[in-house]
């Protein structure tokens, strides 16, 4: 049966969401992601491994809060992509063997808060960090679960060159390209005013 308009939950306004760096003070006992493939791994990660990995500086996890409740989380890490894993234009325009990126290590939303725009908020935050953060970051990278590939490609992510045959492939968003296109479009927009 098709869901009716009444059954679709309202998105939570991004202004009502906040994030905090994961700490031992956060109570994750009620945080439940779901039963789909990969959900258990994500839940195991946030409840068992995320804090230790953060202490080891492997990745930093931010929990997303709404009305005091943990409704999602995102783990980010510094990373790089070899130039031969990128489109050929990267192999000629720059001499570097690798390019700096931010890796979206994990991103998950509580099952009872799905379809409420929380995942988009967390991805927006990662894009914003890559774009305007304090370190150079040309690319945003993710190794998505099969059921979340569309979530990322819809945002402009494309497969890495050497992973096109992997299913699902590793994806990246070219932040430098975004910046250029975005700035160009703003310039064009200003010129037409």
């Amino acid at each position: 049966m098709e869901p009716t308009a009444d059954s679709i939950p309202d998105p939570i306004p991004h202004t009502e969401l906040s994030t905090e760096l994961l700490s031992a003070e956060h109570d994750l006992t009620c945080f439940y992601i779901g039963d789909e493939p990969g959900d258990k791994d994500l839940e195991d990660f946030i409840k068992t491994h995320a804090l230790q990995e953060q202490e080891d500086l492997i990745g930093k996890t931010r929990v997303c809060l709404w009305n005091g409740e943990i409704v999602g989380f995102i783990t980010l890490a510094a990373s790089s992509i070899r130039k031969d894993n990128l489109h050929r234009r990267y192999q000629t325009v720059r001499g570097y063997p690798v390019y700096p990126c931010i890796l979206i290590g994990r991103l998950a939303v509580a099952k009872n808060k799905r379809d409420r725009d929380i995942g988009s908020f967390l991805l927006d935050l990662a894009i914003g960090i890559a774009f305007d953060g304090p370190v150079g970051c040309m690319l945003l990278r993710v190794d998505p679960k099969e059921n979340s590939v569309n979530f990322y490609t819809k945002a402009g992510f494309v497969p890495m060159e050497k992973e096109k045959t992997r299913n699902p492939p590793g994806l990246f968003l070219d932040i430098a390209k975004v910046k250029k296109v975005w700035c160009d479009s703003r310039l064009n927009s200003d010129h037409t005013k």
Binding site: S18, T19, H87, D124, F131, G133, E146, V178
Partner: protein, 50 residues
């Protein structure tokens, strides 16, 4: 020659050609550009949390 590639679906022929051309000359839709603008705004609004 344009090769088929896998992204949840197998793209062949004209579909693969269009997809590869889009990737090689990647542009972003107006919706994606609006989203990037929103993303920058979200980050700036939440910067104090970091």
């Amino acid at each position: 020659m344009i090769k088929p590639m896998r992204l949840h679906v197998d793209l062949k022929g004209e579909d693969a050609k269009v997809f590869q051309n889009n990737r090689d000359n990647q542009t972003f839709t107006p919706q994606q550009l609006a989203r990037f603008e929103r993303a920058r705004k979200v980050y700036k609004e939440h910067l104090h949390e970091f």
